[in-house]
Symmetry: C2
Subunit: 310 residues, 2 copies
């Protein structure tokens, strides 16, 4: 993006409105988790020897630190699991760096630098955290409608409070009825946020837990926005048994050496069963504002493949 564009967009009234919504989204999500549900906010991790491998291709972003190589955080999944040794219910506003393929620069949904609110709860089931996520989304939208109705009206956005429980659609069923592109089609058709559940083991990373009663099916879920806004959130129960972790890593064609310190930690201290999810803040703001592109609601946006001077 050119410096000219960057400078001019800063004084646009639309961006100013989006930033107020952004600030309030952080406020209400934090208020809900802290005041209503007793979650503890932990600081984000930016550089680490371990990070989420992600299921889709991104370029590694590495940094040299006193002669050692660290990666920039793609998600805090491993740190969330490890933090369960200290705390029962946690969340973080976690900045992620994901160097997505350049062809994703015009999807309207991809930034290489964004923040997700990353939530994890000890001994929780998938049902527990789906319930929690629904309450979090409903609380936040209700509060936004109370506080920011002027802004939403001025941008012509008729935002509705979603109905609980959100609809659940099984992955296999969605694939059968809509083909490979089911997520986009279902999102366009939908009038309310909905869940995609029971995702196939080949489609996800090793840390999403396999259903012990249905091999090959994961105890995970994606939250999808209606009106074509696409994915809101990913989450699920987590693998916590070393045998299962080894099996799942092998199944992805990965090696335990790629996750050396994580594996060492599990060997020495074990993992505690947990479930959780992450909700991208910028995409949430895009949905709330009804914006065409996530870049339009972001103060300092960085799209895949481009250079930004600021």
């Amino acid at each position: 993006m050119k410096l000219e564009q960057y400078g001019k967009r800063l004084s646009s009234p639309y961006l100013r409105k989006a930033m107020k919504i952004h600030s309030d989204v952080r406020k209400f999500m934090s208020d809900f988790l802290k005041n209503e549900r007793d979650f503890v906010e932990i600081p984000p991790v930016i550089i680490s020897a371990i990070t989420d491998p992600l299921n889709h291709p991104t370029t590694k972003s590495q940094v040299q630190v006193y002669g050692y190589t660290y990666e920039l955080t793609k998600s805090m999944i491993f740190h969330k699991q490890i933090a369960m040794h200290a705390l029962d219910k946690i969340f973080s506003f976690s900045p992620n760096i994901r160097l997505e393929p350049t062809e994703r620069k015009k999807t309207g949904r991809h930034l290489i630098e964004f923040t997700q609110i990353d939530v994890e709860q000890k001994n929780a089931s998938r049902e527990d955290v789906m319930n929690l996520a629904e309450d979090l989304v409903i609380y936040t939208i209700k509060k936004l409608l109370e506080k920011d109705s002027d802004i939403l009206k001025s941008v012509g956005r008729d935002l509705k409070i979603p109905t609980k429980p959100f609809k659940r659609i099984a992955y296999a069923e969605a694939l059968k009825n809509y083909g490979e592109d089911f997520e986009t089609k279902l999102s366009k058709e939908a009038k309310e946020p909905f869940w995609l559940i029971d995702i196939e083991i080949t489609e996800r990373e090793f840390y999403d837990r396999e259903d012990p009663t249905r091999p090959g099916i994961l105890l995970d879920m994606d939250l999808i926005y209606p009106e074509g806004f696409g994915e809101a959130s990913s989450g699920g129960e987590r693998e916590y048994e070393l045998d299962q972790i080894y099996k799942r890593i092998a199944k992805k064609g990965q090696t335990p050496e790629q996750f050396k310190w994580y594996i060492e930690f599990v060997k020495k201290f074990g993992l505690i069963p947990s479930a959780g999810f992450g909700i991208g803040i910028e995409r949430f703001v895009r949905f709330v504002m009804g914006a065409k592109d996530v870049k339009d609601v972001t103060l300092f946006p960085k799209a895949p493949g481009e250079y930004y001077p600021i």
Copy 2:
């Protein structure tokens, strides 16, 4: 740090208490700025073509992004100034990466990854933001004493609400009376937080504003904790005129090319006068808990010079 230590410290009751204080510090600071003073929270910037050069030596932490070199944020000073084109009162919980010299690993005050709450206000004077920072600190401590008195009692911490206005000590006076090591000595002696003001131009970066009526003296300030806890915050009015920025860069022995895109932005769009400050969250938690070392109150601490597996 060894994996063994890392794992064991996670289940320590002290760390759990510190994390609850940490979470509440973020909550009350955010509540104060958003609910009481109408500030807008902006997302942090993690990678950028421009970042704070800092006045003390740190190793550059760089990352390759689609063939371009970005730096990891050392502070959001330039982005805060630029954001004044969009918003009047802003703050961010901004993670900073500062690869400090290895000899700082045992100061008890240095982490290479930490978060500061970074605040900036358009057309504000130094007095305005000192007033704001005092109110922010007092509000947060008051609320912590209400909500977390059990935790503070259990760790033997007798935390007092500071008296407003905080004492002000001029840099030249401090240097004359206490010598080079004035900050440490004054901090040990003090019973309440205090300000160091009017810092000499050679001691700070170019963006802190020179007093037009007292050449060589800056309109900036440091907030210092009592009881030997050292520096809490840095801040001041900012340079916003291009001539003055050039002059100040030259005075530091730096070149405009080092800040190319920042200078280009100022040429094209100008800067708006502003003042602000940053308060390190981990150091604030250390002060609140009365902890010996900032690492003791941090979930995933990283000290200078060391390798961390997690």
